[in-house]
């Protein structure tokens, strides 16, 4: 029994310690943002890796999620004779929750893990030490552009996801099930409001982007400098970032409603 309590205490301590280290790392990245040089070239390359290369996945997933949503909701709404509300329900659920969260989880798996793997393998091959010996801060050179790119890419991918999902639901509802296209769009436009819904979506995706950027770069920098360490760090990024996204989603939703 005592052993269990001790283990629990130790686990909590290391959790808090870990949070502290991530926060310190976040502070370092923030400081780097205001120091020259801007490293715009690296930022663009990172944005390519995180954003452009994720578009296919996001578009396909968005469209599929939209189709499933359309199908599920339409069938359910028909039971209440409220099919015309499809646009509204699809719009609200996508914009407020499904869009940012599903997009966040997908990008975590695709781009977040890639960033951790890249930085981790740089650590394992002493490239980060090499930078230090050239009096170049590895956080400024490697982590900052990637974290920033993930932060910027997330809201953009979120918007794409939602648009594709709306299209997917449209295809199912209108072409497949015979709902009137105009009614669908009118319901959508009527229910979704910028201040409440799109604004919240934007905020969520920004927060998720920041969290992912921070977690993925930190885990790459902090990993054990060998192949197994890099692999562990990559998995850890996906798990930790996913949990962080889901938790912060709850917090934002709750606070926004206030």
């Amino acid at each position: 029994m005592r052993g269990l309590v001790q283990d629990l205490g130790a686990a909590s301590m290391s959790l808090v310690e870990g949070l502290g280290r991530v926060a310190v790392f976040g502070g370092a990245i923030a400081r780097c943002l205001v120091q020259p040089p801007t490293r715009f070239g690296f930022f663009v390359r990172a944005l390519y890796d995180a954003g452009v290369l994720s578009v296919a996945l996001i578009a396909l997933s968005g469209f599929t999620v939209g189709m499933v949503l359309g199908l599920q909701l339409y069938t359910t709404l028909t039971r209440f004779g409220a099919e015309e509300g499809l646009g509204a329900v699809v719009g609200l659920s996508l914009v407020r929750e499904l869009g940012p969260v599903v997009c966040g989880l997908l990008v975590t798996g695709r781009a977040g893990s890639a960033v951790t793997a890249e930085i981790g393998s740089m650590k394992a091959t002493e490239q980060l030490d090499g930078l230090r010996m050239m009096a170049i801060d590895p956080v400024h050179f490697v982590a900052m552009p990637r974290a920033l790119a993930l932060t910027v890419a997330m809201p953009l991918l979120n918007a794409l996801f939602i648009v594709f999902a709306i299209a997917g639901a449209y295809v199912i509802g209108v072409s497949n099930q015979g709902l009137d296209g105009g009614v669908y769009l009118a319901g959508l436009e009527g229910a979704v409001r910028f201040a409440d819904d799109v604004g919240q979506s934007l905020l969520k995706s920004l927060v998720f982007g920041v969290l992912l950027g921070l977690i993925s770069t930190y885990k790459g920098h902090a990993c054990s400098p060998d192949a197994a360490g890099v692999a562990r760090a990559t998995t850890s990024t996906v798990v930790t970032a996913s949990v962080a996204i889901l938790l912060s989603d709850y917090v934002i939703t709750a606070l926004w409603g206030v």
Binding site: E126, Q127, D129, G130, D137
Partner: protein
């Protein structure tokens, strides 16, 4: 040809006397203790490196050679004791100040540590672009000059993965010296290379030391070339070290050294001694040939 011989006599841990001139203490390791978890790496080692000398760190694997090199570069902090480079105590410096010290140090990592997504030109030119105010063409010009000095031409556009082992090592070398540092730290520069490249690198080190006065610290397994070059050999064993010029150490007369190394150590020294004589002659001949 290395200039004067290193400190005459051996330096045993614990009984070391601080050397007379400041030049002797250009790089100084004082009473350093370091452990990684339960594994003790150093239990209080002392050594000094003279400015402008070629210093060799020798020892079996796991004896802490690379770690000592990293400590001189400030990448590793000791648990106790301090490392001083050019009169600056590294443990007292913040990361930014450490960066200033590092601008005068070039480090050659065992696997090159080149940035794998950047071309040779970008890699070698990186310190210049970050710290020197040069135009693009000036950077390109300096890079091609330093690449030529290490015996490479027309490689600027290649990526690290497209280079052979020897070429990679030499590109990393070029990067380490492109900012004209005062100290050059080399981690196993000869490992995994064919004899031709070993000779090339060795000649480079000697030339850099004699022509530019660089202080060179090298970790190595490679006995023959080590002896050719070194002013001072520092042997690491069991968390301790013993240092001296190759003649003194290999001579096998010093009681302290023999005691330090033990039975197997004596055999090692005997082998060192064997290699020393013929190779010194050979290198003398080579240098004559070069001068013509």
């Amino acid at each position: 040809m290395p200039t004067s011989l290193g400190p005459g006599g051996s330096t045993l841990t614990g009984s070391a006397e601080p050397a007379a001139s400041a030049g002797e203490d250009y790089i100084a390791v004082r009473d350093v203790h370091l452990s990684f978890g339960h594994r003790v790496v150093y239990r209080g080692i002392d050594c000094r490196m003279r400015k402008g000398g070629i210093h060799l760190l020798l020892g079996g694997s796991g004896s802490g050679k690379s770690t000592l090199l990293r400590m001189i570069g400030g990448l590793q902090r000791p648990d106790r004791g301090d490392v001083t480079v050019a009169d600056r105590k590294l443990s007292e410096l913040k990361e930014r100040e450490l960066g200033e010290v590092r601008k005068g140090i070039g480090m050659l990592f065992q696997n090159g540590a080149l940035l794998d997504s950047m071309s040779v030109l970008d890699n070698v030119g990186l310190p210049l672009r970050e710290h020197a105010n040069l135009s693009r063409s000036e950077v390109a010009e300096r890079v091609s000059r330093v690449l030529y000095a290490v015996g490479l031409t027309d490689v600027e556009a290649l990526l690290p993965r497209e280079l052979s082992g020897g070429m990679l090592r030499r590109v990393a070398f070029a990067r380490a010296i492109v900012m004209e540092p005062e100290i050059l730290l080399c981690d196993e520069p000869f490992s995994g290379l064919d004899p031709l490249n070993v000779t090339r690198i060795e000649e480079l080190l000697v030339r850099l030391n004699s022509e530019l006065g660089l202080t060179v610290v090298v970790t190595s397994h490679h006995m023959a070339s080590s002896l050719r070059m070194a002013d001072q050999m520092i042997l690491l064993r069991d968390g301790d070290c013993v240092a001296g010029s190759p003649e003194v150490l290999a001579g096998g007369d010093d009681e302290g050294v023999i005691e330090f190394l033990g039975e197997d150590g004596r055999a090692y020294l005997a082998r060192l001694n064997e290699l020393r004589e013929p190779t010194r002659e050979a290198s003398g001949r080579e240098r004559e040939r070069d001068h013509r």
